[in-house]
């Protein structure tokens, strides 16, 4: 599909974390420091003072228009790499701003890594990539403490999770133990190694992929872990026109090189803060609850959506509103993101599977039958 640039393919090999030495090499090469911190790659937990859960800002949050402006520039830049996939780009931006994680269920070669790299470049962030295999250990993700003979100390070598954007490839191939290590990091945004709790970078976005065609030797994500993903989507094949356009110049020009940083990480943090301040009307909160609640009562559904799903849907709607330059959520924001945010959390009944119902169609049906709150008496 997307022709990977030469440097990317070498890096891809390099970042296959097989043993601590390799991890260390990768880390010293590639890992970038967290903006605004004094952390230089060697860090003990006690020193950590930054990158925590965002403290309430005294200053006025960034305006929705500004968020929309920056986000559209980021989106435009990423769109030069991933042609004709504005929906996926938008969803990944929403996930970035809503501090969620994306589960991309797709065949290899559709541009997942390119998307992650382009996004990371735009936000001046770092990218790491972990190829999940059955023998991958949790420490291969989180990092490991190594004894330094010169200093006679254990030095923590951070794993690939200490990046802004982590591409977790074929996450369902790893053992549940490793999966849960990553998922804990995703949820808690911190890693605990040897009793030390280390915060992760901000922004932190996991782009996990599942390979739906290669089902052999996989550990399917338990529903409890799927629930931690903010949204699921598929990049899908590009349409022929875009594929032709891609073939025209990818051999000589790497579009990733064309991308320069658009915002710094602090600004991304500000944008996330701005998204948190987007207004969502009480009626719309009830609307979200109604949608999520309806999934729990559908006869085709064995397991409905959790309250976390409602939380994620609200966050997605807020991020979508911010991307549109609005400082309030409208029902369409919710409707638009209901399927990617909710569908992967549903467990359908056997009968529904037999009837070839998909979770997405169930969510769409719920949206089509839930009353949209209008204003006064509307």
């Amino acid at each position: 599909m997307f022709a990977a640039p030469p440097w990317a393919s070498t890096r891809q090999r390099a970042t296959k974390v097989r043993h601590p030495a390799a991890a260390r090499r990768w880390q010293t090469d590639r890992y970038r420091t967290h903006a605004g911190t004094g952390w230089k790659g060697r860090l003990v937990a006690q020193d950590v003072t930054v990158g925590e859960i965002p403290t309430p800002l005294t200053a006025e949050p960034m305006s929705a228009e500004a968020v929309a402006h920056h986000a559209s520039r980021i989106g435009d830049a990423v769109a030069q790499v991933i042609l004709g996939k504005s929906d996926v780009i938008r969803l990944s931006l929403v996930a970035l701003l809503a501090e969620g994680h994306l589960l991309i269920e797709d065949v290899p070669g559709t541009g997942k890594t390119s998307l992650a790299k382009a996004l990371a470049r735009c936000v001046s962030g770092s990218v790491s990539r972990v190829q999940f295999t059955p023998d991958l250990m949790p420490s291969d993700v989180t990092g490991v403490s190594v004894y330094d003979r010169n200093t006679a100390e254990f030095t923590f070598h951070p794993g690939p999770v200490f990046a802004n954007i982590l591409v977790a490839d074929e996450i369902n191939r790893a053992s549940p133990k490793t999966q849960s290590a990553l998922l804990e990091a995703m949820e808690e945004r911190q890693v605990t190694v040897d009793g030390n709790t280390l915060p992760l970078a901000r922004p932190f976005l996991v782009l996990a992929t599942q390979n739906p065609v290669e089902m052999e030797g996989t550990y399917p994500l338990p529903e409890a872990q799927r629930d931690r993903f903010f949204a699921r989507t598929a990049i899908g094949y590009p349409d022929p026109a875009n594929e032709v356009a891609m073939l025209a110049d990818r051999e000589t020009v790497d579009p990733l090189h064309e991308i320069s940083a658009i915002v710094d990480q602090a600004m991304v943090a500000d944008m996330i803060d701005a998204v948190n301040h987007i207004h969502i009307a009480p009626a719309l909160r009830q609307y979200i609850v109604a949608i999520v609640g309806a999934t729990r009562g559908m006869p085709q559904v064995r397991l409905g959506c959790s309250p976390r799903a409602a939380l994620h849907l609200a966050r997605a709607a807020k991020a979508a509103a911010a991307l549109a330059g609005r400082n309030y959520v409208v029902p369409d924001d919710i409707q638009h993101f209901a399927v990617p945010v909710l569908a992967h959390r549903l467990l359908l009944t056997v009968e529904a599977h037999a009837a070839h119902r998909s979770a997405a169609s169930v969510i769409s049906e719920i949206i089509a039958h839930t009353r949209v709150p209008l204003g006064h008496g509307g």
Partner: protein, 767 residues
């Protein structure tokens, strides 16, 4: 936070516990009122077909009340969700109560129907039936007739209500409506007024339109809407054509549109001279036209010889003494000064031929006629409309003096009186006390009735009496019309042993500019004929003069001023001869009768005469006014929903242009209602943006329109979902042009159907 209470009903509208299935409309009960009101209106409209049959409009009000009661009780009972048969019973009971309170006096507490009220109603219905059988349209609006009509129409309203709301078959309403229409159409001789068709037709069309939309299914949708549109357009076209025709030739078709002037239904005479009853003062029909008459005379159609106690004179056995009457009147002496009169029937249809009593020969009547010698009546077995025919008249001259010499034949059927009340016999005897010959006795009786001093007045109806005998009632109340006068005098004459009968026909009519006499239905008359031995049947007319009509006597009277009641003894020759000079050769002279009656007639007959005079105009004008008022009301009713919708639109547009908080909401509500009006209204589950996208697509909105719509949407969203920061103070753009653009585009691309124009969908509640 101002948004906290905006949509409190969101939560309970979506049931989290179950799948959100298709929503049911809970507004069926309120919608059911609309078809039934049109059903009730259609019944009322159909009732107007009775307007030519019954004089005045006073009877309409009780009818309207009865229909309204039936309708309201139906609505109320159905709102309570009672069982259908209970609803019907309630309506029936309400109908009975309404009729009792409106018409009877003996109801329990005045309203509840009891046995007394039932028997009273039965009596009233019986007399209403008699009135229907005896009176010429239009009949006087008596309470009896009112009860009859209200009962019938109430029953029809009940059936209509049952068909619409109970049986859910509104199309069948046409059947009772047809019945309501067919009765007057078959009875009335002329054309029924146009509104009698237009009003029920329009209401029926509206009813179909409404109920059609309630029952639409996807498959039948097109067919139903096509039928409804056709019906509505047809009704409007008929209404328009009738209104145009009516305004061009004067409202009402009867006798106004030229080609219908002679096509009005024929008129026959009822073969009864009743002691009770009423006539109407409605619009007169032209019955006969008489040319060549030299002296005004009464036209006799038949004579009545059989007396029925407490009722009056009627037909005895009629015998065809001369079958296939060839035109020569048997036993008639042809005089020298015979005149030939041409009678042209206009809207006359009867079994009996109008003939002058002095006729000697008739020609041009065709075959099939018989002659009864004793009754002196030309008749046939089936009613017909005779063509123009000529009558040869040889007037006989009989003077009072001659008659005074004659004798009469007592006994036989002509002097049968049945069982007369003793007061009548004694009254007749006291009146004629002192008379020495039959003529004087009859003349005294005649003067008893015609002398205003005795208090007899002409009235179109006989008041109720309490004697239990119709004859005594009449003689006591002294009010009535020709039939009562003729019957009463004839029976009193008979009680003296003088043979008498009642002649029925027409008075002389009104002289036209061309010398002919126009005889109308108002000229129908009855009088007394007394049989003298030599002169035969002589005419006495005891009825007081009305409009200068009547008052002819079959003899040259004694012109004595002293010929009062009881004083009709021999009159002096000088005065008789002076009268003779006044009208020397007149046998059927109007002049002779005038001297002792003329002066006092106006005051004696003021009320009936006035009402009779204003009859034609007075009966016409209110009908026109009612028609106009009815049409206006109908148009207003039709236009009311549209006007209400427009007012609402104006209000919202003003709000939308107000640059204030709420402008967006108002603008969106207007757009939404316009979409509903055009049948493409948004569902509850559609967001504003989705609706707007659909709207822009179906209405082919241009780019500017889309921009305007976008502004409207964002304003509305900001009002509904925005944070408090964008509060009431922040100025809004003028949204009205955007709304207007949408309305124009929708009108162009999605034209509304007819029913939706009359009754905008946005006013019908949520689909």
């Amino acid at each position: 936070m101002t948004t906290a209470t905006r949509s409190p009903r969101t939560a309970d509208r979506t049931e989290p516990g179950g799948p959100p299935g298709p929503r049911t409309t809970s507004s069926t009960s309120t919608l059911a009122a609309a078809p039934t009101v049109f059903g009730a209106l259609a019944v009322l409209g159909g009732t107007t077909a009775l307007m030519p049959l019954v004089a005045g409009v006073s009877w309409l009000l009780p009818v309207a009340e009865v229909v309204t009661v039936v309708w309201l009780v139906g609505i109320g009972a159905r709102l309570l969700r009672l069982r259908p048969w209970i609803v019907e019973l309630l309506q029936l009971a309400a109908l009975a109560v309404a009729l009792t309170s409106l018409f009877t006096t003996t109801g329990i507490g005045g309203v509840l129907p009891g046995p007394a009220a039932a028997s009273e109603a039965a009596t009233m219905l019986g007399s209403a039936w008699d009135q229907i059988m005896t009176s010429v349209p239009p009949a006087t609006a008596t309470a009896e007739l009112g009860l009859f009509i209200a009962l019938a129409v109430g029953a029809v309203a009940l059936v209509v209500d049952l068909l619409i709301a109970g049986a859910k078959t509104p199309a069948l309403v046409a059947l009772p409506l047809l019945g309501l229409y067919a009765v007057p159409a078959s009875i009335y001789s002329g054309m029924l007024p146009w509104y009698a068709f237009v009003l029920p037709a329009a209401c029926y069309a509206a009813l179909l339109a409404l109920s059609g939309h309630r029952g639409v299914r996807a498959q039948s949708h097109a067919a139903v809407s096509l039928g409804v549109s056709t019906a509505v357009i047809g009704a409007i076209a008929i209404a328009a054509s009738v209104v145009i025709a009516g305004s061009a030739t004067g409202i009402g078709t009867n006798g106004r549109i030229p080609h219908t002037s002679h096509s009005g239904g024929p008129i026959g005479l009822s073969p009864w001279a009743l002691l009770r009853g009423q006539l109407t003062d409605g619009r007169p029909e032209d019955v006969l036209n008489v040319t060549g008459v030299s002296q005004p005379a009464y036209l006799r159609t038949f004579t009545l010889e059989k007396w029925t106690d407490d009722k009056g004179f009627g037909f005895g056995p009629v015998s065809a003494d001369v079958p296939d009457f060839d035109g020569t009147v048997p036993g008639a002496a042809t005089g020298d000064d015979s005149t030939v009169v041409t009678i042209t029937p206009q809207s006359f249809r009867d079994k009996y031929l109008p003939l002058y009593p002095d006729a000697t020969a008739v020609s041009g009547i065709g075959s099939g006629w018989n002659y009864d010698k004793s009754l002196q009546t030309v008749f046939r077995t089936d009613p017909t409309v005779p063509g123009p025919y000529t009558v040869t008249i040889s007037p006989t001259t009989t003077t009072a003096a001659e008659l005074r010499q004659e004798n009469v034949q007592s006994g036989g059927p002509l002097t049968q009186t049945g069982t007369l009340p003793s007061q009548v016999t004694s009254l007749a005897n006291s009146i004629t006390a002192g008379t020495t010959n039959p003529f004087d006795a009859v003349d005294a009786l005649l003067h008893y009735f015609t002398d205003p001093a005795n208090g007899f007045t002409y009235s179109l109806s006989t008041p109720l009496g309490n004697s239990g005998n119709a004859l005594v009632d009449f003689l006591t109340n002294k009010k009535g019309y020709c039939e009562q006068y003729a019957a009463a005098m004839a029976i009193m004459v008979r009680s003296l042993g003088i043979p008498a009968r009642v002649g029925v026909g027409f008075t002389q009519g009104v002289r036209q500019a061309d010398g002919s006499y126009e005889i109308t239905s108002n000229d129908a008359h009855a009088w007394v004929e007394v049989k003298f031995d030599k002169s035969g049947w002589v005419m006495f007319d005891p009825t007081p003069l009305v409009d200068g009509q009547g008052g002819l006597q079959g003899f040259v009277p004694a012109p004595s001023g002293g010929a009062g009641a009881g004083g009709a003894t021999g009159t002096t020759t000088p005065t008789a001869s002076s009268s003779g000079t006044a009208a020397p050769t007149t046998t059927h002279s109007l002049i002779g009768a005038l001297p002792h009656q003329g002066q006092k007639i106006p005051e004696a007959d003021t009320s009936p005469a006035t009402s009779s005079a204003t009859g034609p105009l007075g009966g016409h004008l209110p009908a026109v006014l009612i028609a106009i008022a009815g049409m206006t009301l109908f148009v207003l009713l039709l236009a009311a929903p549209t006007m209400f919708r427009r007012a609402r639109r104006r209000k919202r547009l003003a709000l939308a242009a107000g640059h204030r908080f709420g402008a967006g909401t108002a603008a969106w509500q207007e757009i939404r209602d316009t979409l509903i009006d055009h049948g493409i209204g948004p569902g509850d589950e559609e967001s504003v943006r989705a609706t707007a996208n659909r709207l822009a697509r179906v209405a082919h909105l241009p780019a500017t329109g889309r921009e305007q719509l976008k502004v409207v949407i964002s304003c509305a969203e900001q009002e509904w979902y925005g944070a408090g920061a964008v509060g009431p103070q922040s100025p809004q753009p003028d949204l009205a042009p955007g709304v207007q653009t949408v309305i124009t585009a929708l009108d162009r691309t999605q034209p509304r159907r007819w029913p939706d124009r009359v009754w905008p969908r946005s006013l019908r509640g949520r689909r």
